[in-house]
Amino acid sequence: MVEKKLSGKVALVTGGARGIGRGCALRLAKLGADIAIIDRNLKGFEVYEFEKKQMAASTVMDEGRALGVKAMGLEVDLADRAATGTAIDEIVKKMGRIDIAVCSAGGGTVKFADEIKPGEAVKQSEVMGVREGDAGPGDIATTGTPSDCPQDMLMRVLNNNLMACMYTCMAVAPYMKKQKSGKIVTVSSMEIFIPRGILHPYGTAKAAIAYYTRALAQDLGPYNINVNCIAPGVIHTGRLGERSNMAKQIALRREGTVEDCAKVVEFLVTDLADYVTGQIVTVDGGARDQRYA
């Protein structure tokens, strides 16, 4: 019998339609939180067989309702600051409040799978170099380097990752400040600790999110709001699917799951973490340190 310790709370999850975001939304719903989902595409899981198989209903909102909580979903481009603000206002209007904000929207691709035209080149396996077989159904990974990155790739990755995170937090903060309570979790990446510069500017965007998290924690601490960050390592979502051969390079000798991340997010948004703020919690099975071991 799961204790419903988040009963009565409202949790916003950006990027919550699929992947790590969806995992967090469902974990919080199981604990009794009502969920509000923002995603560029509320059916984004459709292009990944791996994720389609896992859906217990037609959207994560329906999955939440089946768990007995209230749920709503909005399709918004979070790189649009005004649209983000409007979306948050609408959520508060419909759900009454926001107690938790998980800013999971983002990713290391410059084009999403459902934006790729038939026949367009898939560069992911070349870039990553660590996958066997095909790399998912067609994400186009960023291929910029720190010294040379095409402009549209640069802006898109910064917008989808860094700006989306900041705009969400800036829209949510006034409500949490008024409440004098709140828990915010941002999502960075293990990549920020290994500045090899591949998939650039993904690492740069994610590193900026980590700094922003620390600064936001200082800003909002006096209002009893905790702000923390998870930095996931290799996690099996639709993009990775069930393929990879990274286990040998990970101390715990296995790759991660969405649930591995969701459990940590749960900790960070409950009262167990009341005195933890401004922290970047790496969830990587010991991969970031394994490189040097």
């Binding site: 905790n226 900790f267 005195y275 703020t277 099975g285 010991g286």
Partner: protein, 259 residues
């Protein structure tokens, strides 16, 4: 109950952070081994745990003494048959301006705070590797994260050492299903940080957290409680942190980032 059927050793658990961790783990179903340099104090905590319906035994242990630690582990295995969790909490501080630090004080702090972690973990790890399961939780300090106090040469160095040692042991133990992590507490209200201070003086220090003295200031505007550390300790001892290893998490209310 997140720690049902687990056996946890918590070193230095007669008061402060160690005691809070021991009590919390016992409340969550773990059988707890309470250690101290004086057995009577350890036995008091054991009685408290038993009064709350928990399981516990006491051991006289100086973590700087290898023979003591060896007997602690041997005795725990004899009594409880297993060890799942080790919390390396025992720690001392001997603050002094850098030029006044004596060799004896330096050695004492390094021996308990850093070598103690080495002693206890080395003694326990073989057993954890055999059972392919273990959680090691080290207690460092924000003083070891990058908060250089000029009166903290030995303590700060030892606590910084614990952070690196955590990563090293995590890499060695990872392939055996063992998680090794570290908590860096900030300013926590215990006998060690507020020793024998009159209540009004302690309250003055706590008030300084919110305004005035920048040394005491935290983002969340309050000094921590031992239970705050115990809560993070529970997370690191439970399955909820199963993909986290080699990491140090500060539990400081946002203190060490505050200027």
């Amino acid at each position: 109950m997140k720690l049902n059927d687990k056996v946890a050793i918590v070193t230095g658990s007669t008061r402060g952070i160690g005691k809070a961790i021991a009590m919390k783990f016992a409340a969550e179903g773990a059988a707890v081994v309470v250690t101290a340099r004086h057995i009577e104090q350890a036995q008091q905590v054991v009685n408290e745990i038993k009064n709350q319906g928990g399981k516990a035994i006491a051991f006289k242990t100086d973590v700087a003494n290898r023979a003591d630690v060896h007997n602690l582990v041997k005795g725990t295995l004899e009594h409880f048959k297993s060890i799942h969790i080790l919390v390396n909490n025992a720690g001392i501080g001997r603050p002094a301006p850098f030029l006044e630090v004596t060799e004896e004080d330096w050695d004492a702090v390094i021996d308990v705070d850093l070598k103690g972690v080495f002693n206890c973990t080395q003694e326990v790890l073989g057993h954890m590797m055999k059972q392919q399961y273990g959680k090691v939780i080290n207690i460092s300090s924000v003083g070891g994260v990058g908060f250089p106090r000029t009166d903290s040469a030995s303590y700060g160095s030892a606590k910084a050492g614990v952070i690196m040692l955590t990563k090293i042991i995590a890499m060695a133990a990872g392939p055996y299903g063992i998680n090794v992590n570290c908590i860096a507490p900030g300013l926590i209200r215990t006998d060690m940080t507020y020793p024998q201070k009159a209540e009004t003086e302690a309250q003055k220090l706590i008030k300084a957290t919110v305004s005035g003295d920048k040394d005491e200031r935290t983002a969340l505007g309050r000094v921590g409680k031992p239970e705050d550390i115990a809560n993070l300790g529970l997370f690191l001892a439970s399955d909820d942190s199963s993909f986290i290893t080699g990491q140090t998490i500060c539990c400081d209310g946002g203190r060490h980032d505050r200027m």
